[in-house]
C-alpha cells in the first residue's frame, strides 16, 4: 500500500486523475499495470478502481442498482454475483434495495469502495477514504482497506490522516506539486530523525553518559530525567554493548525502547525542509 501525502492544493487529486487516465498529463509519462498512460487509457481505466473524493453515488437509486450499473460499465461477466459478493462483504446486503441517499456517510463510503472493486482491479486508488467519517465508520472502512491490502491488491491511498497512513502504508510519498520524499515510513523516520534508543533507568549517574558516548557508532547521548537517550546508527549492534556497559557500571535498567517519531513529525519536517530549500533557491 502506497500512501500519497501532501497539503491541500498540492495536486494529489490531479495526480490520481492523471494516473487513472481521467485527465492527460501535460508532460511526463507513467505506466499503470503495464499500460502506458496516453496510449492505453481505456485499458488503464479497465484495470484500476477508484474511490473519488466524493462518493458520487446515484442517491435516488438503490444500493444494488448503483452497483449493477457500474458492473455493466466495467463489463463484469457475473454482474449479479459480484454485486452480491461486495454488498455482503461490506454488510450492505440487508439494505440493498434502499436508496443510496438514505445511507449514512460511512455506508455511502463503503458502497463507493464496493463500486470500485466490482471488476476486481489489481490496483485501487483511494482518495481520502475516511475523510468526514465518524471514528467508528472510519475504523470500519480502514479495516476493510487492510483486508484488501492483505488480499494482495496494490492500493494507492491519498490521505490527510497521517496516523492512518502510518498504520496502513508500506511506502510513503510526500508531495507538494512535486515529489519531495519517497520511501518506507521506517526509512523516512531514520533518514530524517536518525535512530534513537531510550534507556529507562532506576537512577542516572552522569558518568554513564561518558561511557556510552565513548562507544563507536554513538552520535549523541542525552539525559532526560531518569532516562538516557542515545542517538546511534545501528541499535541492533550497539545496544547490547551499551547494556553491558551500564550493567557493569551498576545501572539498574528498567526497560529499553526505540524512540519512534510519528509520521506527522516526519511529514512536517519534510515539508519544512522542502520549503527552506525552495526559499534558498
Amino acid at each position: 500500500m502506497f500512501g500519497f501525502l501532501g497539503p491541500n492544493g498540492a495536486g494529489k487529486t490531479t495526480t490520481v486523475r492523471m494516473l487513472t487516465s481521467l485527465i492527460s498529463p501535460t508532460s511526463g509519462s507513467a505506466v499503470i499495470n503495464n499500460f502506458h498512460l496516453g496510449e492505453d487509457d481505456q485499458a488503464i481505466r479497465r484495470s484500476v478502481g477508484i474511490l473519488t473524493e466524493n462518493p458520487g453515488l446515484y442517491e435516488r437509486l438503490s444500493a444494488i442498482k448503483n452497483l449493477e450499473i457500474y458492473a455493466r460499465l466495467y463489463d463484469v461477466e457475473d454482474t449479479a454475483g459480484q454485486v452480491r459478493k461486495y454488498l455482503q462483504m461490506l454488510d450492505l446486503w440487508g439494505r440493498r434495495e434502499d436508496p443510496a441517499g438514505s445511507f449514512s456517510k460511512g455506508m455511502r463510503q463503503k458502497l463507493a469502495i464496493a463500486r470500485a472493486l466490482l471488476h476486481e482491479p489489481p490496483l485501487l486508488f483511494l482518495d481520502e477514504p475516511t475523510s468526514g467519517l465518524d471514528p467508528e465508520a472510519a475504523r470500519l472502512v480502514r479495516s476493510f482497506i487492510e483486508d484488501l491490502r492483505d488480499q494482495g491488491r496494490t492500493i494507492f491511498l491519498c490521505t490527510h490522516n497521517l496516523n492512518e497512513a502510518d498504520r496502513l502504508c508500506d511506502r510513503i510519498g510526500i508531495f507538494n506539486t512535486r515529489l519531495i520524499a519517497l520511501d518506507t515510513p521506517q526509512n523516512l523516520r531514520h533518514k530524517i530523525f536518525g535512530r534513537k534508543v531510550v534507556f529507562h533507568l532506576a537512577a542516572v549517574d552522569p558518568s554513564w553518559l561518558r561511557l556510552i558516548r565513548a562507544l563507536p557508532g554513538v552520535h549523541n547521548v542525552e539525559r532526560v530525567e531518569d532516562k538516557i537517550v542515545v542517538d546511534m546508527d545501528q541499535p541492533e549492534r550497539i545496544n547490547p554493548e551499551i547494556i553491558r556497559q551500564l550493567v557493569g557500571a551498576g545501572a539498574e535498567i528498567l526497560f529499553v525502547g526505540e524512540l519512534r517519531h510519528s509520521l506527522e513529525e516526519i511529514y512536517l519536517e519534510t515539508m519544512w525542509e522542502s520549503e527552506e530549500r525552495e526559499l534558498k533557491v
Partner: protein
C-alpha cells in the same frame, strides 16, 4: 452498445424518480393533446352549420390551404388547429430539456460524473447514452400524443376534410420529423447550458429559449406573415438540420472528459 444501454437504463431509473420530470412527461403531453381536441370539439359544436362560417378573419395567404370544396368553417378549423401544432412541436423540446437538465446538472451536484468517467466507457458512448435517454422519451411521448389525438378525432365528429388535413403532410412532417430534430437541438443545448450552471431549474429556464422559434411560427401565422404549410415545414426542417449540426458539434466539443472534470463547476 452495452455501455450506451446501461447509461440509458441508469438515466431513466434516476430521472423518472423525479416528480418534476414525471409531471413534464405525463401531465404536459396530456394537456397539449386535450387542448386542440377541446378546441375542435367546441368549434364544431358552436358553429352548427360550419359550412356557413365566414372566412373573413382568416389571413388571405392561408385560404390557399383550404382545398376546393372545403367549407369556410372547415377552413377556419384548420387555421385554428394549426396554432395548436406548436404544442406537438414543443413537446420534444420541453421533455428532453427537463430530463437532460436533471440528468447532467444532477450528476454535477452529486459529483457522480467523475466515477462514471473513470469507467471504461468512451466519451461518445456517454454522450450518446445521455442524449438518447433524454430524446427518446420526448420523441415517443410526442408521437404517442399525436397518435392519441388522431384516435380521438373521429369521436368528436370532425369532418373528413379536417381529419385528412391533420393526418396530412404538414402535421406528419411537424410531428415525425421536426419533433425529433427539435429534440436533438434541445438535448445538445441542454448539454451546453448544463455545463455552465449548477441548478436544473436555471438550466431549464435558459433552455426554454428553444421554444422561441416555435412561438415565432405561431405568431407569424396569426399576423398573416407566414402560412404553416408543407413548404414552410420543409424550410423549417432544413433550418433545424443546420441548427442540429451546429448544436451536435457544440455538444461534442463541450462533452469532453477533461473539460467536464476541470472546467464544469
Amino acid at each position: 452498445m452495452k455501455h450506451i444501454l446501461t447509461i440509458i437504463d441508469k438515466e431513466w431509473a434516476e430521472v423518472f424518480k423525479n416528480r418534476m420530470v414525471l409531471f413534464t412527461l405525463i401531465f404536459l403531453p396530456l394537456i397539449f393533446t386535450i387542448l386542440p381536441l377541446v378546441m375542435l370539439f367546441l368549434t364544431g359544436q358552436g358553429i352548427g352549420d360550419i359550412g356557413e362560417m365566414d372566412t373573413a378573419d382568416i389571413p388571405a395567404a392561408f385560404l390557399s390551404q383550404c382545398e376546393v370544396g372545403m367549407t369556410g368553417g372547415e377552413c377556419m378549423q384548420i387555421y385554428l388547429v394549426n396554432e395548436f401544432l406548436l404544442l406537438f412541436m414543443m413537446m420534444p423540446v420541453i421533455i428532453p430539456v427537463t430530463i437532460a437538465a436533471y440528468s447532467i446538472v444532477g450528476e454535477k451536484t452529486t459529483h457522480s460524473l467523475e466515477p462514471l468517467l473513470a469507467t471504461p466507457i468512451t466519451t461518445i458512448e456517454l454522450l450518446v447514452g445521455k442524449s438518447m435517454a433524454a430524446a427518446i422519451p420526448a420523441i415517443l411521448v410526442g408521437w404517442g400524443s399525436f397518435g392519441i389525438f388522431l384516435l380521438v378525432l373521429p369521436l368528436i365528429s370532425i369532418s373528413d376534410a379536417v381529419m385528412s388535413y391533420i393526418a396530412g403532410p404538414t402535421w406528419l412532417l411537424a410531428v415525425f420529423v421536426v419533433g425529433p430534430l427539435m429534440a436533438i437541438a434541445a438535448v445538445n443545448l441542454a448539454l451546453y447550458v448544463s455545463s455552465r450552471v449548477n441548478d436544473p431549474r436555471t438550466a431549464e429556464q435558459i433552455e426554454a429559449v428553444l421554444i422561441v422559434p416555435i412561438l415565432g411560427l405561431v405568431f407569424a401565422q396569426l399576423a398573416g406573415v407566414i402560412v404553416i404549410n408543407v413548404v414552410l415545414m420543409l424550410n423549417f426542417i432544413g433550418g433545424m438540420i443546420l441548427l442540429d449540426i451546429g448544436m451536435v458539434y457544440l455538444g461534442v466539443s463541450i462533452f469532453q472528459r477533461e473539460t467536464i472534470l476541470t472546467h464544469w463547476k
